[in-house]
């Protein structure tokens, strides 16, 4: 086949592929939202896509590649959110000789403190960048710690029991944050110092590329990780635990590795989310938003494929946003029948999961079963072997 024919063939494959169709749908919906709602909706969708891509990719590492029933994704997200809400601001307060102890999180003090910190951050782009990096590092470290703690019961539990414990740990952390004032203010949200304050009104325009850059770095890191001997170990654990241990894997160690890396990344997602919203409300860190939606994104996109995850997050975030914006406008008639359109978001979640399980059990962009080494290096080894024989 000529090179030209080869490219034409490849181009045809892409045009007929589900990923392309999905991208088209996403584009059309975005265009619709742009013309009906303007730039601010698009920016908010893009920021959410970046944050939730990070969270869902981390879920995909644990659930999709390692087979861990991670129903407590929210726990690691909370770790990141609380850490960013509680620690970097206090560090700034300490250096600015402001109160940094328990009183930092008290509602009357916090509301005066954070604007002072923001004023300092807005004065120096170097300080702002440093502050953002510090937030990411602190979030990641807190997530890794929580991931390691969660991995401890994982020594004895598996499948549904492990899933239920992780679900419980997630809710537990949320209620601790809600009731223990000194972490992130309890029932009154604490404000998070804003490293993007320096950009003023253009804040969101900068957050979008900044968050996308972080998401892309994580995407590249994770793709390299799953295409490595470690990634193979994760898949071995997923496919058969007994057989994996007979092949010499310490399954507790491998599961811990996956949980710690996954939690670290999810916590970075949680940290970025509260930097974007500017405050941490413990009660807002729900399992619906940070566990069940990521599961739906992952299941629609594809378990075991990060490109699929990205498309799944994009499409469903748009649909979610459309429902939240237009539910009373378009579905107001439901009110007359006694159905609150508020429930439509849950209905969408349920419908997506059912449709995926029934019609797309492997998701829109299924994982390709390939060797871990890049194809050209595999080819070299195999052709050398064939020469010998």
């Amino acid at each position: 086949m000529s090179t030209h024919g080869h490219f034409a063939e490849k181009f045809k494959d892409i045009l007929l592929g589900r990923a392309f169709h999905m991208s088209l749908i996403i584009f059309v919906l975005l265009a619709f939202l742009y013309f009906s709602g303007g730039t601010s909706i698009i920016l908010s969708i893009l920021i959410q896509v970046a944050v939730f891509s990070i969270i869902t990719m981390s879920l995909n590492l644990e659930a999709g590649y390692t087979g861990i029933p991670q129903f407590g994704r929210v726990a690691a997200v909370i770790a990141g959110a609380f850490a960013v809400g509680a620690i970097p601001g206090r560090i700034m307060a300490f250096f600015m000789s402001l109160p940094y102890g328990a009183e930092y999180a008290s509602d009357t003090v916090n509301v005066k403190l954070v604007p002072q910190i923001n004023a300092v951050l807005a004065g120096s782009w170097l300080l702002s960048l440093g502050f953002l990096l510090m937030c990411i590092v602190i979030a990641g470290a807190a997530g890794a710690l929580v991931g390691w703690l969660i991995s401890r019961p994982a020594i004895r539990l598996k499948e549904a029991y492990l899933g239920i414990s992780m679900l419980a740990i997630g809710d537990f952390l949320m209620w601790v944050g809600h009731n223990w004032n000194i972490i992130v203010g309890g029932s009154v949200p604490v404000y998070v110092p804003d490293p993007f304050r320096i950009f003023g009104a253009a804040r969101f325009n900068v957050i979008v590329p900044a968050f996308f850059l972080i998401a892309i770095i994580i995407f590249i890191y994770l793709n390299r990780l799953v295409k490595s001997p470690l990634g193979r170990n994760f898949r071995m654990l997923r496919d058969n635990e007994l057989s994996a241990s007979a092949a010499g894997l310490d399954i507790v160690k491998v599961r811990t590795q996956s949980l710690v890396i996954g939690a670290c990344i999810a916590a970075i997602g949680g940290g970025l989310y509260v930097i974007y919203t500017g405050s941490v409300a413990a009660i807002g860190m729900t399992r619906l938003t940070f566990t069940f939606w990521p599961w739906a994104y992952m299941m629609l996109g594809a378990i075991g494929s990060n490109v699929g995850v990205f498309l799944g997050v994009f499409l469903l975030t748009i649909l979610r946003t459309m429902i939240i914006i237009y539910r009373s406008q378009w579905f107001g008639f439901l009110q007359a029948a006694g159905i609150d359109p508020l429930w439509l978001e849950y209905t969408l979640l349920g419908a997506v999961i059912i449709i995926v399980i029934l019609f797309l059990p492997y998701g829109l962009v299924p994982e390709k079963v390939r060797p871990m080494l890049p194809a050209n290096r595999v080819k070299k080894v195999i052709s050398q072997k064939q020469m010998q024989t």
């Binding site: 470690l230 496919d239 058969n240 057989s243 994996a244 010499g248 871990m372 290096r377 080894v381």
Partner: protein, 255 residues
């Protein structure tokens, strides 16, 4: 000949049910040792006790004179003793060659080295070359890049053997390698195994199909209701009245 595996008085009870009762077996180096017996007689339980899947209630298991009683499967794997399962348990989300590579060690398994191709690619290339040799030894070299879910029953059994070989094992325990496989493929599987024995490996094989497997065996242990009832070279064990009784039932008295 050296003793490869010694099980001394191994007993395993499950809440009062004695699945394996004070069993003594010895697997000598470079032999094809068979373990036979009817369903439920404790063959698989004995293998599980030896390979760390189960912990024996009492007794000792020695591998090359090291006491491995109660070790975990991945620890026993490290000293050179691996097993296959009655039902093949391939990693279905991996290619055939990755199933084999999974049992080989690589620096890229460490979290900080894994994302850096340079740190592990050369070892992976060497392992891959070894894996291709192993696949050739079990007759799977043509299917190296297929997903393992695409293999047939007999090929999956050989993939299990290949996984065992890839770890550099000295002793491989095969649990019913020809169970549920047609006679022609069964013969092929056993020929591969016996060729591997000639290369220096030792096999402990649990099997029902005495007719096909016995000609390949050097030594046979027969079990019934958790205890050993006979042992010796194939001719002796297969003609032992106790073994015949277990397999064919009591002789009907002529009327």
């Amino acid at each position: 000949m050296k003793n490869m595996l010694v099980a001394e008085n191994v007993t395993k009870t499950f809440d009062g049910l004695v699945a394996v009762n004070r069993v003594n077996i010895v697997v000598k180096e470079n032999t094809f040792t068979m373990l036979i017996g009817p369903n439920g007689c404790g063959k698989t339980t004995l293998i599980n006790c030896c390979t760390g899947i189960l912990k024996p209630t009492s007794g000792r298991v020695l591998f090359e004179d090291i006491d491995i009683t109660g070790w975990k499967p991945h620890e026993i794997y490290r000293v050179g003793f691996v097993r296959s399962f009655q039902i093949p348990l391939p990693f279905i989300g991996l290619t055939v060659i990755d199933n084999v590579l999974g049992a080989m060690r690589n620096p890229g398994e460490a979290p900080f080295k894994a994302p850096l191709l340079k740190k592990w690619a050369h070892v992976e290339e060497e392992n891959m070359s070894r894996a291709m040799d192993i696949l050739a030894r079990v007759g799977l070299e043509k299917h190296w890049d297929l997903p393992s879910s695409a293999l047939g029953a007999a090929q999956l059994k050989m993939l299990e053997v290949a996984k065992g070989l890839s770890s550099g094992a000295k002793l491989i325990a095969l649990d019913e390698p020809i169970g549920g496989v047609d006679p022609a493929s069964a013969h092929e599987i056993l020929s591969h195994v016996s060729r591997l024995k000639e290369e220096g490996l030792t096999f402990l094989v649990v099997e029902h199909r005495i007719d096909i497997a016995a000609p390949f065996a050097d030594y046979i242990y027969a079990m019934e209701l958790g205890t050993l009832i006979s042992e010796g070279p194939p001719d002796k064990v297969l003609n032992d009245p106790k073994v015949i009784e277990v397999y064919l039932g009591k002789e009907v008295e002529a009327c």
